[in-house]
């Protein structure tokens, strides 16, 4: 709780306790509710799948709480073996999360009024959704991020993600038995929904097709996880080559 109380002074214009009714934190938490609900099915599937890959119910919240990046966690769990290929998992995590670099760069001007320590704390909670909400809110407020608001959003999303991935890990073994025959298809389903969310037209998706073809071909020919670097790198390389021609 000390952690939470310390956040109280973060929002300079607002002297109410953080997350008190009517405060900036409260406003953020309220705005985050629809996204929190959207997290639930993703989180349950991830937790259940992680449990199936041998994660304990402590390791699941450890991963989702320390890493807090859904896309990378889905990719990691899908590629997880026992023992895990650590280098592969870390490299894939970096590739999936490399978009954070751009997001952090666009958020930087809105954090200029904050001490670096607080900005670095806030950035731990930057995910696609909190980033988009913070950006939209700061635009309305004249270009300064309200830290109280941001931590309100972040609190809601973070708690929802960690709690429901843990519940998924508990419920997974039960679910797995009931729906054994189709349950594994939930995974590509989640990935395809995430991809649909990133869709920016067929031209922008051309590198995805390259990745799919390359990864599929390598998977047929070479056993093991080589299809992952092959697919990811050929997609990124084709994006690089295609961008020159635009």
């Amino acid at each position: 709780m000390d952690e939470v109380l310390e956040v109280t002074d973060f929002s300079s214009a607002d002297t109410r306790p953080w997350l008190a009714r009517g405060s900036e934190g409260w406003r953020g938490l309220r705005d985050s509710v629809p996204v929190m609900l959207g997290f639930v099915p993703f989180a349950l599937v991830l937790g259940a799948q992680a449990a199936e890959k041998g994660f304990s119910v402590i390791e699941v919240p450890l991963m989702t709480g320390l890493n807090f990046g859904g896309g990378s966690e889905f990719a990691a769990v899908e590629l997880w073996t026992s023992p895990p290929h650590i280098l592969l998992i870390v490299a894939i995590t970096f590739l999936v999360n490399s978009r954070h670099l751009l997001m952090g760069a666009t958020l930087a001007p809105l954090l200029r009024h904050l001490p670096r320590r607080k900005a670095l704390m806030a950035l731990f909670f930057m995910c696609d959704e909190s980033w988009a909400m913070a950006l939209a809110d700061a635009k309305k407020a004249g270009g300064k991020l309200s830290l109280g608001y941001f931590f309100g959003v972040a609190f809601g999303l973070y708690v929802s993600w960690v709690v429901f991935t843990t519940i998924g890990a508990f419920a997974g073994p039960l679910l797995g038995d009931i729906t054994r025959y189709g349950f594994d298809m939930a995974f590509p389903a989640v990935f395809l929904v995430m991809l649909a969310g990133m869709w920016k037209g067929p031209n922008a998706a051309l590198p995805w097709l390259v990745s799919l073809v390359a990864a599929g071909a390598v998977h047929i020919v070479i056993p093991g996880a080589w299809y992952v670097p092959a697919g990811a790198l050929s997609g990124v390389l084709s994006a690089f080559l295609l961008a020159r021609n635009q």
């Binding site: 990691a76 894939i92 970096f94 978009r99 799919l212």
Partner: protein
């Protein structure tokens, strides 16, 4: 309850992820990225996601491929929860009918 190798992988994942979160703020804030680099960075996450599920597309099992196609149609039209239900149901039914 905590496997040391799992823990190592998780901590390294978390470290790399946090570096991507602060990297843009620390190193890119006063720089303009070339549009080309920007395009590449925007397409990278999608490349990785499609790569990870690529084996499902080349499984060669008719029931799975049909279910995957149905799932793809659902994913482009429906929210996450109905899509997952469609995926599980179609895979379950098709494997039963066509054989897994």
């Amino acid at each position: 309850m905590i496997d040391p190798l799992y823990l190592t992988a998780i901590i390294l994942m978390a470290t790399v992820t946090y570096l991507t979160r602060i990297g843009g703020y620390l190193f890119l804030r006063n720089r303009t990225l070339s549009p080309r680099l920007r395009t590449v960075m925007e397409s990278a996450p999608g490349c990785v996601l499609i790569t990870v599920i690529a084996p499902d597309f080349v499984s060669g099992r008719p029931a799975d491929l049909l279910a995957l196609f149905i799932t793809l149609m659902a994913a482009t039209r429906l929210p996450i929860l109905p899509t997952v239900l469609v995926a599980i149901a179609s895979a379950g039914v098709l494997r039963h009918v066509l054989g897994g």
